[in-house]
């Protein structure tokens, strides 16, 4: 950890992440207004308007408060999505790598198939079947991201399987389950953490992209940067640049923070690049 902090870029990254996490946690305390409170008499007011530091959106809601609360949604969606993806992907990757043979073939082909399907189709079909909600949106994002974790774990397992300590555990009569959990998984932790960080960034952008395309299932009463950006883009060039710009900048900064951190993490965890 100390080594990570030494890199200036990592410091910037961590600061950004901490900033947004604090923003999310304390959103209700630091927001000047209720983020869902509309004022139809004061729509699309520019930044600096009295009481609205960042202006108001197309329904007269306070942009600053919505940016604060939007951090919650982005972080929750991305974290939960990563968690689901990892929970599905890691066991499948372990099985695939450890058992090999038909199981491996089947799981890896399933991964190929999943990656060949257009993401939009998956989203629309799943949201249509389950209904639009925050949970279902997270579910879609999580389920569709298992392949990467599985592939990474499988790769690590394949390279570790033949190593002495695993062979030794095997010879000593350790069960397959024990070998996978005690010997293989911990050794794959490094690359997995790096992948998870990158995925965190990707899911934040993907959630926003779904809102941009009008396919997100997140209910409108939850402030979301993606939705704010989607709402604002029609007035971006003319009539209200701030409505889309602030969420756009917020997404970029949070993702930048995560990437800076992930980059430093990768350098530390990957012994070859030291």
């Amino acid at each position: 950890m100390r080594r990570i902090l030494r890199a200036p870029s990592a410091l910037v990254g961590i600061s950004l992440m901490v900033l947004f996490v604090l923003m999310a946690i304390f959103a209700p305390l630091i927001s000047p207004h209720n983020p869902t409170r509309q004022d139809l008499q004061a729509i699309t007011k520019p930044p600096g308007t009295e009481g609205h530091l960042l202006g108001t959106d197309r329904l007269g809601r306070d942009m600053l408060s919505r940016i604060f609360h939007g951090a919650r949604l982005s972080l929750v969606v991305a974290l939960a999505g990563v968690l689901i993806g990892a929970l599905v992907g890691i066991p499948l990757g372990l099985l695939s790598g450890y058992l090999g043979g038909r199981v491996d073939d089947f799981l890896m082909r399933l991964g190929d198939i999943q990656l060949s399907l257009p993401f939009i189709l998956l989203v629309i079909a799943i949201i249509a079947a389950l209904g639009p909600s925050l949970t279902n949106t997270i579910l879609v994002l999580g389920i569709t991201s298992w392949v990467l974790y599985a592939r990474v774990v499988r790769g690590e397992v394949l390279s570790l399987k033949e190593r002495e300590f695993v062979q030794a555990a095997h010879a000593l009569g350790a069960s397959g389950q024990r070998i996978m959990l005690k010997h293989l998984l911990p050794n794959a932790a490094g690359p997995l953490i790096v992948v998870a960080t990158l995925e965190l960034a990707r899911l934040i952008v993907t959630e926003a992209a779904l809102s941009f395309l009008g396919l997100s299932g997140v209910p409108p009463e939850i402030p979301s940067w993606g939705q704010m950006l989607a709402d604002g883009r029609e007035v971006l060039f003319f009539g209200g640049w701030w409505v889309a710009t602030f969420p756009g900048v917020a997404i970029s900064l949070l993702v930048l923070g995560i990437n800076l951190f992930g980059d430093a993490l990768a350098e530390v965890l990957d012994p070859r690049s030291r």
Partner: protein, 325 residues
């Protein structure tokens, strides 16, 4: 030139190829099947084809005429049967063969993907080498920061900003469309610039970081040290040894990104009104034009599988240590 000479085909490699091609078939079949049932899940295609107040009789007539009145498994079997003969059905909206609609959009998608990749590789490798050679300087920090920033800008945001700056403010480049280029079927160069940058920026950032990592590792390796000892100039060392050995990670990213570039350009194609496959798929999915979605899915599955295969073979060319088993 040793870089480009392929390894001699061996029996082992042939078996490998045959096995891989069989797997391609399995994946394509699996993808088509899954897509079929996902589409079924997403709703009744007749809903959107008729006026909202159409009578049940007319709806029924339509279902019959399009074969939607049969049980799903029958529809599936007959679809697969026809697909095997190369018939991927007629678009419900456009009344023209679905496969044709998809293939018609391929050049635009490929040109965009190719231009984006070219942009990404040229600037990515350049920035990566600079960052590696100038390790520890402010220049490295600046290059890496911008690379990461590039990787962090959501494509829709980047695309809108590009339009704002180059299209609206500076009026340097066209805002949308394919334009009429000097070569029939290809876009005007000016129209290609902004979409290519929008799509390519993410890959450029990834390539920058990978190149830097690869070059750094090589610069510290034994054979570079030997080369240095032999008195070769630093420039020659970088270009001849380091860069060549850093090619593998770059090829990996290209393989990974090419699939994304082709199918993942939905938002870019929408914003820039680019006539590519991504936009076609988005429209077809939201219009429930099942045959078109299905055709696009199959074409993509094939393409992706072939790209993966080519990338794997390229590894073999670039790194003789990789064995085909």
């Amino acid at each position: 030139m040793a870089l480009l000479s392929p390894p001699l085909p061996t029996l082992q490699m042939l078996t490998y190829l045959v096995r891989r091609l069989l797997l391609v078939l399995v994946v394509v079949w699996g993808t088509a099947t899954l897509a079929f049932f996902l589409l079924f899940l997403s709703g009744d295609p007749v809903n959107l084809l008729l006026p909202l107040d159409a009578t049940p009789e007319v709806r029924e007539q339509f279902r019959k005429a399009n074969g939607f009145d049969r049980p799903v498994w029958q529809q599936y079997l007959s679809y697969m049967g026809r697909a095997l003969q190369g018939d991927l059905g007629i678009s419900l909206r456009n009344q023209t063969p679905a496969l044709g609609l998809v293939l018609e959009r391929m050049p635009a998608s490929m040109v965009l993907a190719g231009a984006a990749l070219l942009f990404a590789v040229i600037f990515g490798v350049l920035a990566g080498v600079i960052a590696a050679v100038r390790k520890g300087t402010t220049l490295e920090f600046v290059v890496l920061f911008f690379a990461l920033l590039g990787q962090s800008l959501p494509v829709f945001w980047l695309a809108l900003m590009l339009i704002l700056v180059f299209g609206l403010e500076l009026r340097l480049l066209p805002i949308s469309g394919y334009g009429v280029g000097p070569i029939p079927g290809l876009p005007a160069l000016a129209n290609l610039v902004l979409p290519a940058i929008a799509v390519g920026t993410f890959s450029m950032a990834a390539i920058t970081r990978l190149t830097r990592g690869g070059v750094l590792r090589e610069l510290r390796s034994d054979h570079v040290r030997t080369a240095r000892a032999k008195g070769l100039s630093e420039r020659v060392i970088i270009y001849k040894h380091a860069l060549r050995n850093a090619a593998i990670p770059v090829v990996t990213v290209i393989g990974l990104q090419l699939g994304n570039l082709l199918s993942g350009a939905v938002i870019t194609e929408t914003i820039f009104a680019w006539p590519g496959v991504g936009r076609l798929v988005l429209t077809a999915v939201t219009q429930q034009d099942f045959p078109v979605v299905q055709a696009a899915v199959i074409v993509f599955a094939v393409l992706l599988a072939v790209i993966n295969l080519v990338v794997d073979l390229l590894y073999g060319v670039l790194d003789p240590r990789v064995r085909y088993a």
